[in-house]
Symmetry: C2
Subunit: 351 residues, 2 copies
């Protein structure tokens, strides 16, 4: 019942296009997955559906599961998270409605879909799939450390949740806009839904984590780029091991350091001062050189969402001057972002 | 059926004493677990048992499962590994004989014991337990990074399989011989069998690996020492993430670097030159300082098993001179090992 997400085979990507399910959500911050899908995978989204109580909307057409199916949808994605990560009973009827309309269900909640008995029964009876993007594929190999062909970029953060996924998506999009053959490689749930495939790195057994990162970005054509979403931080008291496994297994040629100006402590860890951009950069280059001695830093991505335009530019200029590297906020774009993309794609860039 | 090994509660340690099962093994190197138990947990071992074809022996009394049960044994431990890690059909009758005699079975093979249908059936019928020391306990928390009371020592390696477990066992024994309240904390299968409890770090899901290391060495009395078995190496292309999670979660006050003189490459990774002792030491101190700024290195443990006595002493002296730290081979003991133990227990030691 629980179908693993394959990470390389195009044939095994998630069934799509999607109908986005918004539950009974009234708080926009709980619908980040739905918004991310709308913004980064519009070609995968035919519309949205929700319980009557919901007030949040993505702005996509409101479709019943049957209408969505008629419009080509193949799965309904649970596009909201709620505190605790469980599936409330009010969601069961609309979820079963989707199964009955011929859609598979895709979720990434803490509660696994097949653990909800009415869903398990309905999917079994109807021959539909319950797909969990938190479930790693079986038989992940131990890392070999062998050099692979093609080019790889990894976004590396000073902390969790400050723009590593967004930066990787923006860079992959910018690479493609320049005619470069590039794939965004997802390591977390939202990224996996956007890409239609990926590796839920946080759920992989520790001994296989670097191997999972190797499998996520397989050997490719010499001109191809994998742009890999980083996780956690090499200085995070809980997740540094995951970050190091991703760094070693990805063997990046290029890293981009991601940071949120003004964040003083690791999120949820008030006793842990955030490492500086410089410390993060040097640590990533030192540790990353173990599996790719040619690793270099192309620049810095700043999440300036809490600053006004003038403050953002001032901060960007200050960090660029301090580091002597391209610095940009991909959300704001502009000349700084163009320079960052240049530096990523240059064969011998600064850093 | 599959019983998780608890890692702190004394009440939940593995059932013992053990009867050691040697299968049909004719190759001594496959019986390392049995030898380790004989050498480090003799009080937990009442005897050995094997198929008729076996030629390997621990030297412990040969007992049938019924005789062992009468002598107080509570479990039979599979003390041998075979290539592939499966359970051959020739082992099934003696394993069932043990269950029938009233012993639980403890294994750490690749094949899980309950996956062998005749064993599952027999255990169910007889009300016996099939315990897998590769199975992590449920509900491991995410690491908090919070400082814990008590003292911790972690053995850190330049590679896998060169003496981290042996060094931790020898140090814990030496600490106790000096009247210091010390526990060996196991992170791998053999260590868990020896200690009767522990955390199979290689099987923990990546996001919880540092939390698992925190749980393994909980807050303790100010004079207590946990001596923690390290895994892998911070420079290992496949396992560095596990090593970093153990380092961060253990928050060691003291590290001892373990190395095998003459090993030039990571085991099984001929393209990866082994990091130097110095590089390993500096990397561990730099990364470990994130969760324990007071971390220090007490010295170096060398595995000189492939050298003669004179060559071993020469190597030990050379490394001690180069690093300015106590260096010893715990197997050979002597004044060097005494100095290493001194340095571990000193409040302000060199390094």
């Amino acid at each position: 019942m629980q179908t693993a997400v394959s990470w390389v085979s195009e044939a095994d990507t998630l069934p799509h296009p999607y109908l986005l399910f918004l539950g009974d959500t009234v708080e926009p911050s709980y619908a980040k997955t739905a918004f991310g899908l709308r913004d980064w995978a519009p070609e995968r989204c035919v519309g949205e559906f929700a319980c009557e109580a919901a007030t949040v909307t993505t702005g996509l057409p409101w479709l019943t599961p049957a209408q969505a199916r008629a419009a080509g949808a193949r799965a309904m994605v649970i596009g909201v998270a709620n505190p605790g990560g469980h599936i409330p009973s009010s969601w069961i009827p609309p979820l079963i409605q989707a199964l009955e309309a011929g859609l598979d269900l895709i979720g990434g909640m803490h509660t696994r879909l097949p653990a909800v008995e009415p869903l398990r029964q309905a999917a079994l009876t109807l021959g539909r799939r319950l797909i969990d993007v938190r479930e790693p594929p079986p038989n992940i190999p131990v890392a070999t450390g062998a050099k692979r062909s093609g080019n790889r970029l990894l976004t590396v953060g000073t902390d969790c949740a400050l723009g590593k996924k967004y930066t990787a998506l923006a860079l992959a999009r910018a690479f493609r806009a320049r005619g470069v053959d590039a794939d965004f490689r997802a390591t977390g749930q939202t990224g996996i839904l956007i890409a239609g495939a990926g590796m839920p790195m946080d759920a992989v057994v520790a001994d296989f984590a670097a191997g999972a990162a190797e499998a996520l970005s397989p050997a490719a054509a010499p001109t191809h780029w994998d742009v890999i979403e980083g996780q956690g931080s090499l200085s995070h008291p809980a997740y540094a091991g995951v970050s190091l496994a991703i760094l070693h297994g990805s063997q990046p040629d290029v890293i981009v350091v991601c940071h949120e100006p003004g964040r003083a402590h690791a999120l949820g860890y008030p006793h842990y001062a955030l490492p500086s951009i410089e410390e993060t950069l040097h640590l990533a280059l030192r540790l990353g050189a173990r599996t790719n001695p040619a690793i270099r830093c192309a620049g810095v991505s700043l999440n300036t969402g809490k600053l006004d335009a003038a403050g953002a530019q001032r901060t960007i200029d200050e960090v660029a001057h301090r580091l002597g590297l391209p610095v940009a906020d991909p959300v704001r774009g502009g000349a700084g972002f163009t320079a960052l993309v240049d530096a990523c794609l240059q064969r011998s860039a600064p850093g």
